[in-house]
C-alpha cells in the first residue's frame, strides 16, 4: 500500500488499472474526463495491458463494452451527465442481459440549460435501469469501491452491472491523500474474470433475443426479484475488502455516524463530509449516509431511523412531478410501515453546482425540526 496525494480522477484511474480490465470504452465529458485521460496514459505507456477504445460517442462507449463483457472480458467506462443520458438505452439492455460491467459516473447536472457542475440528476434519472448504484463520500472510498464493484459484478450470484457514483469536481478534481492498494493484494481479492455465458463458438449462445409477452414478463420479474438479493452480496464484498485492506464504509450498505441522536440527516456522497462536521458541532443530530442506492436498502434504512424524532433527507436532485427529491421518496417509503414513524422532511440543494454549507444545513434543521413532509430548498449560492 502506498499513500499518494492524487487528484480524485487519477486515483480512480489507478484503481481501475489495479483491476486489470481488458477493454475500456471511453469518451470525454466534464467532469469525468480525467479518468479516461489517465487510463490512456497507462495504456500508451504500457502500464496497463488493455484495449482502450476511443469511441465516437458515449452510446458506443457503453455498447462496445457490452460486446466485450459478453465476450468474457473485464470492462470499464466512465462518464457524466449528458454522456450517461446518451447511454440510457444501452444501460437497460446491459442490465437486462445481466452482464458483469463497471462504470464510474462523475455526477453532474443535466441539460437544459447546460451546466457542467455537480448534482445527482444524471444518476438519479437512471434509478430504474437495473444497475447496482453505489455513492461514495471521498476519493479513498471511490478507489476502494471501484475494486469492490468488480467483485460484486463478477459474482456469479450477481452478474449485473455496477455504477459507482462520485460527485463531479468535489471528488473528481480534488487532491486527497489516498492509499493505493498493492497490485498483489488486489489480484488476490479480484481473481481473473471467468464469465460463464461468454460468446464462444465452442458453446454458441444467443444473447439479447426477442421475447414475446409472457417470456418477456417472466424475465423481467426474475431480474426484479434477483435485484434485491444483491444487497447482502454488496455487504459481503465490502466486509471481505475491509478485512483484507483495513478500510470500511459503515456496514457497506449505509454508514451511520453518531446516529444515536433524536434528529438524523440522511444523504449520500461527498456532502456527507459537511454533514459530519455539523454533527460534530452539536449533540442533537446524527447522520445516515446511503452508500448502496440501488437496490435501495429499505429495511436497513428503516432500522437505522427507528425511533427518531425527525429525519431530514438532503439531496442534489429532484423527482420531477413528485414534489420532492428522489431519495426522499425512498426514505419515506422505508418509514411507511413504522408504527411511530419519525417526522420526515426534505432539503434540496447543490443543484447545478450551487453550495450547501454547514450553516445552510443547521438553518434547515432549526426551521424544519417540528415540521413533517416539508420540501425545503437551500438558498442558492455558488
Amino acid at each position: 500500500m502506498v499513500k499518494k496525494i492524487l487528484e480524485g480522477s487519477h486515483a480512480v484511474a489507478e484503481a481501475v488499472k489495479l483491476c486489470r480490465p481488458h477493454v475500456l470504452g471511453m469518451y470525454p465529458i466534464t467532469p469525468s474526463t480525467h479518468i479516461p485521460e489517465r487510463l490512456a496514459e497507462f495504456v500508451n505507456n504500457g502500464e496497463l495491458n488493455a484495449s482502450l477504445i476511443r469511441v465516437e460517442a458515449e452510446f458506443s462507449a457503453i455498447s462496445s463494452i457490452v460486446g466485450a463483457a459478453a465476450t468474457g472480458s473485464r470492462v470499464f467506462t466512465a462518464t457524466s451527465s449528458q454522456g450517461l443520458a446518451l447511454m440510457h438505452e444501452v444501460l437497460y439492455a446491459a442490465s437486462g442481459m445481466r452482464l458483469p460491467m463497471v462504470m464510474v459516473v462523475a455526477n453532474r447536472a443535466l441539460s437544459a440549460p447546460i451546466n457542467i457542475w455537480n448534482d445527482w440528476q444524471d444518476a438519479i434519472s437512471e434509478r430504474e435501469n437495473g444497475w447496482i448504484q453505489l455513492f461514495v463520500e471521498n476519493v479513498q472510498e471511490a478507489v476502494d469501491t471501484v475494486i469492490q464493484a468488480y467483485r460484486i459484478t463478477e459474482d456469479e450470484r450477481v452478474y449485473n452491472p455496477v455504477m459507482v457514483n462520485m460527485d463531479g469536481f468535489y471528488l473528481t478534481h480534488v487532491y486527497e491523500p489516498v492509499d493505493i492498494p498493492d497490485q498483489k493484494d488486489v489480484d488476490e481479492f479480484l481473481p481473473p474474470l471467468n464469465y460463464k455465458y461468454k460468446l464462444d463458438p465452442k458453446k454458441p449462445l444467443t444473447h439479447g433475443p426477442f421475447a414475446y409477452p409472457v417470456p418477456y414478463a417472466m424475465l423481467r420479474k426474475r431480474n426484479f426479484d434477483d435485484f434485491h438479493s444483491f444487497e447482502p452480496i454488496v455487504k459481503e464484498v465490502h466486509d471481505e475488502f475491509a478485512k483484507k485492506f483495513g478500510r470500511s464504509y459503515g456496514d457497506g450498505i449505509i454508514e451511520e455516524y453518531k446516529n444515536d441522536r433524536p434528529i438524523t440527516i440522511v444523504t449520500m456522497g461527498s456532502i456527507s463530509g459537511t454533514v459530519k462536521e455539523l454533527v460534530d458541532s452539536r449533540d442533537d443530530v446524527g447522520l445516515v449516509r446511503v452508500r448502496l442506492y440501488r437496490p435501495f436498502p429499505k429495511e436497513r434504512v428503516a432500522e437505522a431511523l427507528e425511533g427518531k424524532e425527525m429525519v431530514l433527507v438532503i439531496e442534489k436532485d429532484v423527482a420531477m412531478g413528485s414534489r420532492s427529491g428522489a431519495l426522499f421518496l425512498d426514505i419515506r417509503d422505508a418509514l411507511f410501515s413504522m408504527r411511530d414513524r419519525p417526522r420526515i422532511n426534505n432539503a434540496i440543494g447543490g443543484i447545478g453546482g450551487t453550495d450547501i454549507t454547514r450553516e445552510d444545513i443547521a438553518k434547515a434543521i432549526d426551521e424544519l425540526k417540528e415540521k413533517d413532509g416539508e420540501i425545503h430548498w437551500f438558498e442558492m449560492r455558488g
Partner: protein
Amino acid sequence: MKGDLFAPGHRACAGCGPAIAMRHILRASGPDVIIAQATGCMEVTTTPYPETAWGVPWIHVTFENAASVASGIAEALKMQGRENTKVIAIGGDGGSADIGFGALSGMLERGHDVLYITYDNESYANTGVQRSGLTPMYAATTTTPAGSKIPGKTQRKKDLPMIAAAHHIPYVATASIAFIEDFEAKIRKALSIKGPKYIQVLAPCVPGWGIPENKTIYYARKAVETGMWVLYEIENGKLKINYRPQKLAPVKEYLEGQRRFKHLTPELIEKIQDFVKAEYEKLVSKDGMQLF
C-alpha cells in the same frame, strides 16, 4: 455438418431475401464466428426466446449499435488471444445507413477487425416498411406513400459502400442474393483480411417491395441486370466491377411487378432510367481505378 448453422424454422416471411443472406453468411463464415446484430427483421424473426435460429454465438443489443458492440467483441477477442474467431456485425439498411451510421463510421475509422454486412432491403421492414436512407428514388414506402402530389421518396439512395470505402478500409464489396457464390466468396475474402471490412448485400423484401414470394431472387437478379445495383469490390481503394451485363436491361424490367413502383408514370420511369444509366456509366468508367 448437421445442416445449416442458420437453422430453418425462424419466423421470417416466406421468400424473405434477408433470411437467405443470413444463411449464406454463416455458410461462408463457418462456425468459428461471433455475430453482433442490430434490431430489425433478422433479429426479431430469428430469436423468439427461448428459440434461436443461430448455431453460432450471437448478440443483439440495440438498433443502432451493432458496429460498436462488434468493436468491443473484436477487442475482447484480441485481448484474450482468441483472434482466430471472426467477428461479423449485421444490420439492415436502416440500422446501418441511418440510425447506426455514426457507430458504423466509428468502427470503420478505428480499424477493428470486424466484417460489417448490411442486408439492404431498402426500407425499415420490421416496423412496417418505412423509408430509409437506402430506399431508392420514387419507391413508395409507408412514410413516402405514392401521393397525387409527391410520388414516393424524392431523394436518391445513399451511397453507403462508397462512404464505407472513403474510410480507407481494406475491403468493401456489394453483393446480391441472386449471385450467391459471388456473395459467399466476398464474405470469405473479407474474413481473410485483417481490419474493418464492409459488404452490402441487396436482399429483396417480399411484403415491403410488394413482390410474389417466389420472385425474391428474380428481383435480386434484375436489379443487377438493369444497373439498379452494381456488383463491385473496392480492395485497398481500387475499384473492380464484378459483373457487367453485355447490355443493361431496361429498368422497366426491374420496376415492373413491384408494388412499391406501381405508381410510376412513363415519365418517372424514364427519369429513373436516365439516372441509372448515368450512374452506371460513371461507376463503370472508374473500373480498375484507385478510388481511395
